[in-house]
Symmetry: C2
Subunit: 153 residues, 2 copies
């Protein structure tokens, strides 16, 4: 356990948890990039939109923004690019003509069904470096931090 008094006069960045979490997140993204980027030519916003639309068809840009925690302009641009690549389709909603329903196209769904197992396998291959007890402990801490920072949906 790395207990540490609060009154220290120096700060080692390599031991500072916020820094380590940023570094870990970047490393993890890098580790995952090989599946969505090199193989499918998606960047992170596009990948997140694909993942969201794939599991929750007929959703709005707003819903995507909320559940991915991305800014709505970032979502808007990712959607526009995916539509240009004909991976998703948009239809104006009948009830509310401001919003547009987003769904996967045929080729989008094909990519999705190919992409998801690879992404999940990559996640597993990452987490396999942890023993079952380590994984459980890590996820418990992660959940508590998420609740504390109100990061859940």
């Amino acid at each position: 356990m790395t207990a540490r008094p609060t009154l220290e006069r120096t700060l080692e960045l390599a031991a500072f948890v916020p820094f380590r979490l940023n570094r870990l997140a970047a490393g993890t993204s890098q580790y995952l990039a090989i599946v969505y980027q090199e193989r499918f030519g998606l960047d992170i916003p596009q990948w997140r939109v694909m993942a969201t639309v794939g599991s929750q068809q007929d959703c709005t840009a707003q819903y995507i923004a909320a559940s991915t925690r991305m800014h709505k302009t970032r979502v808007s641009r990712a959607i526009a690019e995916l539509e240009a690549r004909q991976l998703i389709e948009r239809a104006s909603s009948a009830q509310d003509r401001r919003e547009r329903q987003v769904r996967l196209s045929k080729s989008g769904r094909r990519m999705y069904t190919e992409l998801v197992p690879l992404a999940l396998a990559r996640e597993s291959s990452l987490l396999e470096c942890l023993s079952p007890e380590q994984l459980a402990g890590f996820l418990t801490g992660l959940e508590t931090l998420e609740r504390f920072l109100q990061l859940e949906d």
Copy 2:
């Protein structure tokens, strides 16, 4: 424990660890920003340079880039801004006139001694949401992941 078969055909982003780690890192940065940003007017690169130079005086830009894992251009610009604010000073090295030794100025050191306790306290206040056992388990998993992804110095 969130065991999950690898052959699932759908992916819930909210349960996908790489996504959750990115979200946590962003949330943590946000949580920390109040000390270095609002109070001292530093952005993240500047804050990291300050932290590094403060604990390791007379280091080079290269050393800062390596230990913060930032791109050397990002470091170069952060240093230039901190120098313009007279928080750090640079002196050309005698042995190798390409490199420049970076150190905190008087006012830089004053800011550092004010900043470090606040940052550490903020880190503690974040981690206090975890029980001691949760913290230990979380840090253990974090370390293992760091080793696996080769994120250490």
